[in-house]
Symmetry: C2
Subunit: 589 residues, 2 copies
Amino acid sequence: MAQLRIAMAQVNPVVGDLEGNCAMAADQVRRAAGAGAHLVVFPEMVVTGYPVEDLALRNSFVSASIKATHALAERLAADGLGDLPVVAGFLSRREGVGARFGQPAGAPQNSTALLHQGRVALTSAKYHLPNYGVFDEFRNFVPGDALPVVRVRGVDVAIAVCEDLWQEGGPVTAVRAARAGMLITLNGSPYERNKDDVRLELCQRRAREIGAAVGYVNMAGGQDELIFEGDSLIVDAEGDLVARAPQFEEALLVTDLRLPDAPVPAPDVREADGIRIVRYTASSAPAEPYTPAEPVLTPRPDPVSDVGEVYQALVVGLRDYVRKNGFASALVALSGGIDSALTATIAVDALGADRVHGLLLPSRYSSEHSLADAEDLVERQGITGRTVPIQPMVDAFAEGAAGTGVELVGLAAENLQARVRGTLLMALSNQEGHLVLAPGNKSELATGYSTLYGDSVGGYAPIKDCWKTLVWELARWRNAEAARRGEVPPVPENSIAKAPSAELRPEQLDSDSLPDYTVLDALLDAYIGTDRGYGELVTAGYEPELVERVIRLVDRAEYKRRQYPPGPKISSRNLSRDRRVPITNRWTP
Amino acid sequence: MAQLRIAMAQVNPVVGDLEGNCAMAADQVRRAAGAGAHLVVFPEMVVTGYPVEDLALRNSFVSASIKATHALAERLAADGLGDLPVVAGFLSRREGVGARFGQPAGAPQNSTALLHQGRVALTSAKYHLPNYGVFDEFRNFVPGDALPVVRVRGVDVAIAVCEDLWQEGGPVTAVRAARAGMLITLNGSPYERNKDDVRLELCQRRAREIGAAVGYVNMAGGQDELIFEGDSLIVDAEGDLVARAPQFEEALLVTDLRLPDAPVPAPDVREADGIRIVRYTASSAPAEPYTPAEPVLTPRPDPVSDVGEVYQALVVGLRDYVRKNGFASALVALSGGIDSALTATIAVDALGADRVHGLLLPSRYSSEHSLADAEDLVERQGITGRTVPIQPMVDAFAEGAAGTGVELVGLAAENLQARVRGTLLMALSNQEGHLVLAPGNKSELATGYSTLYGDSVGGYAPIKDCWKTLVWELARWRNAEAARRGEVPPVPENSIAKAPSAELRPEQLDSDSLPDYTVLDALLDAYIGTDRGYGELVTAGYEPELVERVIRLVDRAEYKRRQYPPGPKISSRNLSRDRRVPITNRWTP
């Protein structure tokens, strides 16, 4: 057995910021070298950020990524770090393939590079291209066909990318034939509730299958609608967990391992399962024996605090969306209700109270407690709060319409109020530069209980993937957390306790037109999350009329959902990116 | 040689309307039978409509499609049409495959059914699954593996689906080995400018390759952002055009052909190129000799009227979007400018003047000619026109903001006017039930010269895939067409002739901040349409500063584009469905 000190850089690149990402990577390599690492590994497509989506089809972008990766290798050598092998994901292309009808233009690949001695010494590309849920990789990439095996300090380390670990066959299956001592996978694996357990179990299973240790390096941070969880880890060949990085935050996980000596001479296996095996020797002599450091094994929160994990994910998603899009502050309309209260609270935790601005926009239908609860929240959290009563604007529209003989009543009058609020938010956003946050929850989005261009305005919707019942849980969890820390609970108790209402007409309550949220959310989750149709839902015990009504609401709300701002995804079916359904659709199950 | 009378039903199904689509299909079969057809063929997925997108992943939807297809076969037999073989596309599934990670849930397939004697006698599925541009089929379907060959009146007819004709290899290649006398392909092939020529050439090439006649049956009509062009056609084994249906409208193309006698016994070829060959005999005896009818050969407009073809596509797209989404009328804000004038004109051609409502929303910055030109348009076209001056509402917002110490100036004040207009449009839409049309053109969308929740409100954007220069061409073409017919030209000459302006501040002109549209559109098309980067654009002769500025505008406008309403696609890169780029993106080429 040989010793190997491996550094896994759990980092947070920005899509498109090639220069910034490479500077960050160089910095991490310096840190890893300082810690005595023998090998440094970065996540999937760290050079370009991930996911690049259709940017992969831009020839100039692919060229820029290749150039930046070569420049990074040179820069590391110039910094005296050329001896240290570095594995990094980048965007590349399959050379020598002509344009083929139906194939991604320019044959781009989701690639890995081994940087060594100032050069890109070896490249390979992802073989399994996921094209489901949030992934569109079959659309944007052509697959690789090789398993690279790098000899470092007398240990053979194989390299694969993300989905290659999840699917059967391909490079991971070839690891055993290649007789590598360890498999490293580079990942951009988005957060989903409880996915960390699945991820660990997968690594354990694969390690036992291939008879080698598995290192899993992931990104940490938000990118558009995705949140990368971090949770980088190493399991040994028996599947036992050896090291684990924290969730949601950047980390350099340096771990000492004992791994099988690389066979000498190297096995003459050129191919296995249709995968070419390509080898490179960075250093063949084992490391001089040394005393290994204790591995970092960040404890996972126990299952009870799953809600806390979601909260943390939402904070990270918002923080990075604001930062990566170049905003300095956020603006949120405070109605006194739970959705806007939770949205503001997440924003304060992500950005700090001084960068969150509340706008109180009472109408003639706002109850007294609404304004009081919103003011209470402003005070508890120390954010800016400004009040603009909306009636004069609503009246001006009503008069304008009346001038053409139209009286705005019913839904038109209700929506008008929401749109006056939306216009005010956008006016202040334009004037002062804030990112407007839309406070809609997933139950609302699913059923279409929101107003286009009204409460749906904004650039980001922090709780759009949270059912209403989860919104309450999150608020309660956050308050309990504050109490535990001896701080003022940020969410007004009354916002949590009171019956939800849009307050767009007198005495309106959500319960007038919707069932209790406990029932509604379970039904919605069964319909959207687990794809049950009318028949199955009725068999499961839901009232037929309710099922029919709810399904109809969901199917008719598709247009509104498309127009809704993006938001952090925390479940596998989140109503937006994952679900592409026709607007013109006459079918309900 | 045997005679065969084939009926190709170029129809316009509605996605999800299984009942309506099957009733329509039954009606077409009756008509075809009345015309003495020996074989009836429908387009791709006619039972469900196309494209179904993620509905394919709904198990209950797949089951409903299968059930509806069987019911259609029974119904035809009950109507005394069971002897007549009918080929129809439907949504089905590959049976006997378990759930596999990364594979579309439920293994749905884009399938064909042969309906005969009250049964689904034979099924197969699309082999090549396009996953580029507007297509996401690899995401939603699993591929088929068979080429069905149906013996009808002593002729062997092979069946394939759309993309199978476009790509190399697969079922179409197997046709020669199967020794079929004709290949029929079922299509849902979206319109693109000049694609009809490409389509004909492809059919001709394939016919010569496989040594058999090729029949191409396509849909006609709009579905969401797609417009199906019709243009169904037949070429003989030498590649000569035999019959052709009109563009954009429904038609039953009945054609008499002379085709090779089917080999007796049937060739014992079970497989070719990895494709299973499956056979079914509907009738082995050739038809009694009869005098063939003259084939229908709809002439194509000559290349000069390409603009007229685009205009027709836009009218069809709007008409079907309104109808299929259950609206009765459309509402459009008339600024006196060319974009809203063309939008209204298309709407009137699609829906009739009595179903189009104009709203004139002058502000203090509207020039005198704006109102006059808008009124001129109302009068020329005989639509409803109502005027609501927006200043009182704008003032109410300014006062509301001032109440919190904020003065709205510059962009905030400009956008406010657009948003007041948007709110008025939506109020009238809610009150009266119109679909609001957004008048943005492609140059505007590309560069981000529109206001979120302002001029971008609405449910459909008829000219969003038309460069500004094309907008002028379309208006001129439509006026010339009116003159040709001796009618009043619908678009006011002044709207065409005057310099474009958003009129959101005094004396504002588009040319203040943008180059001449002839230059801009060419540059945008080079950047977006043909994917050239900064370097290539500068080499091509564009001013470096202009290239940099325009690229930056385009890349920064991604969020606005996503929030823009859908509209008919007329080019292969239309900025919305076809282009999925990260919002958080720091890269410009």
